[in-house]
Symmetry: C2
DNA sequence: CTTCATATTTGTAATCATTTTAAATATGTA
DNA sequence: TACATATTTAAAATGATTACAAATATGAAG
């Protein structure tokens, strides 16, 4: 787990991205929030506390730069806004329709491998996700049902 | 393959959707265009020729109704606009970054089955897609390379 | 065939995520 | 210190989608 400023700086330099304060802070945020798959808005709102002058545009530009260099992945799963993922290792996601959380899912199969595609297309990206009701929400629903039947 | 007005009407009635002219035409379009995964715009532009008064809103409303009743699937793959699919059988997609075409992909594995998810979540939807360069575009690229080396 | 209630369609305006643009600011170098 | 370049910023533009309200169609009751 890489969380200190020094190695974040090294990561950016390695990718040929000038390590400005904003970029370091955005990368730091991403590296520390690997479970919530944040939106631009979420990142922006959080960084406002440290950098009161930061703009949405900077967050957008920075994430697009990170994306190009493979520092983050972009995931379109909610249908409304882009989610970003610091974990660029091959994995899939689960979106809970009730609480809205996005969780990582590990699946190994011809789909997640991608390469075995027989159609002659050159596969560059593999995206997989599920939608449904997450474990925790299922528990909540059960609890509510119990309450209402008292 | 269901393409005549009569059975389209039956499909709508079966789902409790009143078979208006617009809805029949939209369903007809969907049933006849199973390979291009159209946008709302594409459907709208085509139907304008038959129904000069049709509105975008009607196409949106109708597709949302179809979606709710499971007559079509919605796929978010380009990141910019929703694509609709008349084929609601479990399958995945390939988006060509060069020509923009979306092709059907058949894959059978734990991911496409969905059910085998070990995390305790209730899976209601399975979405999978690849991005890359399609077979035909790869050929084009090769041909261009040959030309430029003449 | 009229009247009325309801559903559908339509056009316009609003919304929301994202991109574009241009000015302001910061950075690095001569 | 001065200048060229990159970055950040705010504001405006864009584009897909939804909300809204008026117009139109539909279907049943008298």
């Amino acid at each position: 787990m890489i969380t200190n400023m020094k190695s974040l700086k090294a990561i950016l330099e390695e990718k040929g991205i000038k390590p400005t304060y904003q970029r370091l802070k955005i990368l730091e945020y991403m590296s520390r929030n690997t479970v919530n798959h944040p939106t631009v808005e979420m990142i922006y709102e959080k960084l406002l506390k440290d950098i009161p002058t930061i703009s949405m545009t900077t967050v957008y530009n920075t994430l697009n730069a990170f994306l190009e260099k493979g520092l983050v992945d972009a995931i379109t799963i909610t249908g409304t806004e882009m989610r970003y993922d610091f974990n660029t290792d091959s994995h899939h996601h689960f979106l809970c329709k009730r609480c809205g959380r996005i969780m990582d899912i590990e699946v190994t199969c011809p789909f997640s491998e991608g390469k075995k595609l027989q159609y002659g297309h050159r596969v560059e990206e593999v995206h997989g996700y599920f939608k449904g009701i997450c474990k925790d929400c299922l528990k909540d629903v059960r609890n509510s049902a119990e309450e209402s039947s008292l």
